[in-house]
């Protein structure tokens, strides 16, 4: 704390710290639980109720063995990496372009286009018509692009980014124009650097969305060599689900102890990499971005 703070301010700060610490504990507990449970003894975990604070029984890596022994898990990671990196890039490019054009007040009909775009947030044709378009109109069926392109733009993200772009003072753009800068240059040299924080958030949203996505892949991919991680892991999770209706006893054979354990291990395996992504985003949330830019 710097110089003289009023007593009420100090009281506020103390309460604020305490509350946030309590929230922090509340947030970390389930994650802790999942991590600890994933190293637990399968039988003990099954009969345990309540939070697992420490691995139950001896530390057990059996669950991870099951999950990681899947033959396609490595290709799954590789495919997901491709989808996240290439997909996020394409999504960002298109979203930035849309958001930039529609944030410019010089465009007389921008509200008409906004309406045109917002409308799709509320109405969509549903799964089968979209499938037919992807398959028979643009012929992306069973290609990796089918996972990326049909969902490349999120209207939600576009609108948020546009809101962010609108914060940039018009005067900056005007002066750049006078210097003869093209729209393309203004977009990438001025607007984007000035909206780093918002861009970072949108990157995070797209990347997390693509990381978790499996439905697109399920619909459009025939070849298992293109399956993303989540689709492979879902199958492993399902293996442990005995609620599946079958007509013969021998189909209900996969009842095994590791059911609960595998669930927890799957969560760790499938989310750890993307969880680590956040700190890289966080560093863009630094204050005073604008000042430097305006003054510089």
């Amino acid at each position: 704390m710097k110089i003289k703070e009023s007593p009420s301010r100090v009281a506020f700060l103390i309460i604020n710290y305490i509350l946030l610490a309590v929230f922090g504990l509340l947030f970390i507990t389930p994650v802790w639980h999942v991590v600890m449970a994933s190293f637990s003894d399968a039988a003990k975990l099954t009969s345990h109720t309540g939070i697992v604070w420490w691995p139950l029984g001896n530390i057990n890596l059996g669950g991870y063995q099951i999950v990681l022994s899947s033959p396609s898990i490595l290709t799954g990671y590789a495919n997901t990496a491709f989808y996240v990196i290439v997909g996020t890039s394409i999504s960002m490019l298109l979203t930035i372009m849309g958001a930039y054009a529609l944030s410019r007040k010089t465009m007389r009909y921008r509200n008409v286009f906004m309406l045109f775009i917002s409308f799709t947030m509320l109405f969509n044709g549903g799964m089968i018509p979209t499938y037919m378009v992807v398959k028979d109109v643009v012929h992306l069926y069973d290609t990796r692009w089918a996972v990326i392109i049909p969902t490349a733009i999120s209207v939600f993200n576009l609108i948020i980014l546009r809101t962010g772009f609108q914060q940039v003072p018009e005067s900056l753009i005007e002066s750049a124009k006078l210097d003869g800068a093209s729209e393309w240059t203004i977009m990438f040299r001025i607007i984007v650097p000035l909206s780093k924080a918002t861009i970072a958030v949108i990157v995070l949203y797209y990347a997390v969305g693509l990381w978790n996505s499996w439905f697109q892949a399920m619909i459009y991919l025939k070849g298992r060599d293109k399956y993303p991680l989540q689709l492979i892991l879902r199958e492993i999770l399902l293996l442990n689900d005995t609620g599946v209706m079958t007509t013969s006893a021998d189909a209900v054979k996969n009842v095994q102890l590791e059911r609960k354990l595998v669930k927890y291990c799957t969560i760790i395996v499938s989310t750890l990499p993307i969880m680590c992504f956040y700190p890289f985003i966080q560093k863009y949330f630094t204050k005073g971005v604008m000042i430097g830019a305006v003054k510089g």
Partner: protein, 529 residues
């Protein structure tokens, strides 16, 4: 879009000659012998054999018996396997897209609206023209009994697909089990009537203070109505979803007097703590009790699968229950000597089936290929593998070797069967699994569970027309919600049982009679085949 238009056009052209295809000539077909002189590739949609990563099976072609079939037939299959858990969506999309593989397995489970509709939708071809030539072994297999033959035909008289025929017939593989060690410690005999069960469960509750002396699923029963069977009613979620067939008359259980008696009993038992106080919220208990109930000494009796009975103590029971002695027990009846009318019942004709699609360019070869599973040598190759490797002949019968029974890589017998063998259409040799079953499992399926089974009230494999089905689903969606909700309320006591008549009248007001009518019509059509 282009395909869509083409489809519409094709249909318009076809409309004039409905039924021309059915009568393909039965004579003068050239003989097809396997292995084929020239290798051929067929595509096939089929749900995954397993998603267990430790078996290392990603497609059927990784299975040794499938490879053996390929060698014996010179037919290579390119499999289209939907992701596990998304089979229905994947199937619907395949149908909607009009891009079909040559063979469609599991078609009967996934084609919404029945196989007659699949034929009239031009997705699969009727096999009538092949029954006397390329499918003659399958024809012989289903001709063994009039009932089976009828069951393999549709209302319209089509043979839509090659079904999996239980060879031999299958006994009940699901029924009630009880903790014999607890019975012994309480000095009680195995309960027979619902009253006996009451006494036993009360004793369990007092002696062990367990959460669920009787573990029933979240709908207050089990998926085959085994526990309610003594009242002659089916609970929701069981096959038929409440509808039963009492000697040719369709009834809707939840408005029958037997259902009221059953619910009243459960209400009293719930109040006494004989059911899990949280039973209605444990939705992961559909088939089998969750581990927190049976493995921790919280349940004294529950519905179970026969093959699991012997394994229960090794499936993760906690230290206090490691020595549990679980035994099968006949389902309860109202009075000693009575019979149950609902139980796990298997029709000879299974629900699995393999069909030939309209996109197939070699339907003759496809039919001849599907016929192979009805020949014993090919069926054995599929279900038992290669002689000398996975089985040997003892007195003319195949017996698994240690590669299956005591797998050197530590696989369980079930896993080994999945890894090395597959199920072909035609003869469904389910009884191979009896070789791996324990003594209690065998007594359950052969003696104990069948011991008090009377006439079965389960509806046969009937189909509604698409108009009937549409209307039926609109009506039953609401009725099922209402019944589910009020069944729980009656059992918990949040709604008083004196309001039963009110409840029945509400359901009648929701036009349940109309829905019963559709079921009855479908049943009459079935009986008239």
């Amino acid at each position: 879009m282009r395909k869509l238009l083409a489809l519409v056009l094709a249909l318009a052209l076809c409309a004039g000659c409905m039924g021309c295809i059915v009568s393909a000539s039965a004579e003068d077909k050239p003989e097809i012998t396997f292995p084929l002189a020239e290798p051929i590739t067929l595509t096939a949609w089929r749900v995954s054999a397993t998603s267990d990563p430790k078996l290392g099976i990603t497609t059927y072609n990784d299975i040794e018996a499938v490879q053996a079939w390929e060698k014996a037939t010179n037919v290579h299959i390119e499999w289209q396997i939907p992701p596990s858990g998304q089979e229905q969506e994947n199937f619907n999309l395949m149908v909607a897209s009009g891009d079909y593989p040559d063979l469609i397995f599991d078609v009967a489970q996934y084609y919404v609206g029945g196989l007659d509709k699949a034929i009239s939708d031009d997705v699969i071809i009727p096999l009538n023209g092949y029954m006397d030539n390329y499918l003659k072994d399958y024809n012989a297999l289903i001709s063994q009994s009039d009932n089976v033959y009828k069951d393999c035909k549709t209302d319209e008289g089509n043979f839509p697909a090659v079904y999996f025929i239980n060879t031999p017939d299958q006994g009940p593989w699901y029924g009630m089990v009880i903790r014999q060690d607890w019975l012994d410690e309480c000095g009680l005999a195995a309960p027979v009537t619902y009253d006996d069960w009451h006494t036993v469960l009360k004793a369990f509750k007092e002696k062990y203070n367990c959460k669920a002396p009787l573990a029933l699923n979240f709908r207050g029963g089990d998926v085959f109505s085994v526990f309610a069977g003594g009242y002659g009613v089916s609970v929701l979620g069981a096959s038929g979803n409440g509808f039963i067939n009492v000697n040719g008359t369709v009834k809707y259980s939840p408005i029958e007097e037997g259902y009221k008696e059953y619910i009243t009993m459960l209400h009293d038992w719930y109040a006494e703590g004989l059911l899990d106080p949280d039973y209605y919220s444990n939705t992961s208990f559909v088939y089998l009790p969750t581990d927190d109930l049976w493995a921790t000494g919280n349940a004294g009796a529950w519905p179970d699968i026969y093959s699991l009975i012997d394994m229960r103590p090794y499936m993760g029971a906690d230290d206090n229950n490691k020595d549990m002695n679980v035994v099968p027990i006949p389902a309860p009846v109202k009075e000693a000597g009575g019979k149950v009318n609902l139980y796990q019942y298997n029709f000879t004709r299974g629900t699995n089936a393999a069909a030939i699609s309209t996109a197939c360019k070699n339907p003759d070869i496809a039919a001849a290929y599907l016929n192979l599973g009805s020949k014993q040598e090919y069926a054995w190759l599929a279900y038992y593998g290669t002689e000398g490797d996975t089985y040997t002949l003892v007195d003319g019968k195949p017996v698994f070797t240690d590669k299956i029974l005591h797998n050197p890589d530590g696989l369980s017998a079930n896993d080994a069967m999945t890894k090395f063998m597959f199920r072909s259409a035609g003869m469904y040799i389910w009884d191979r699994e009896l070789q791996t079953a324990g003594p209690k499992a065998l007594s359950a399926i052969n003696d104990i569970w069948p011991s008090n089974q009377g006439d079965v009230y389960q509806l046969p494999n009937i189909t509604m027309t698409s108009d009937e089905a549409n209307r039926y689903s609109v009506l039953m969606g609401d009725i099922n919600t209402y019944v589910e909700e009020n069944t729980t309320k009656f059992i918990l006591g949040t709604r008083d049982l004196s309001e039963w008549d009110d409840y029945v009248n509400t359901i009648r007001g929701m036009k349940v009679e109309e829905a019963i009518g559709y079921q009855q019509a479908a049943l009459d059509r079935f009986n008239g085949r």
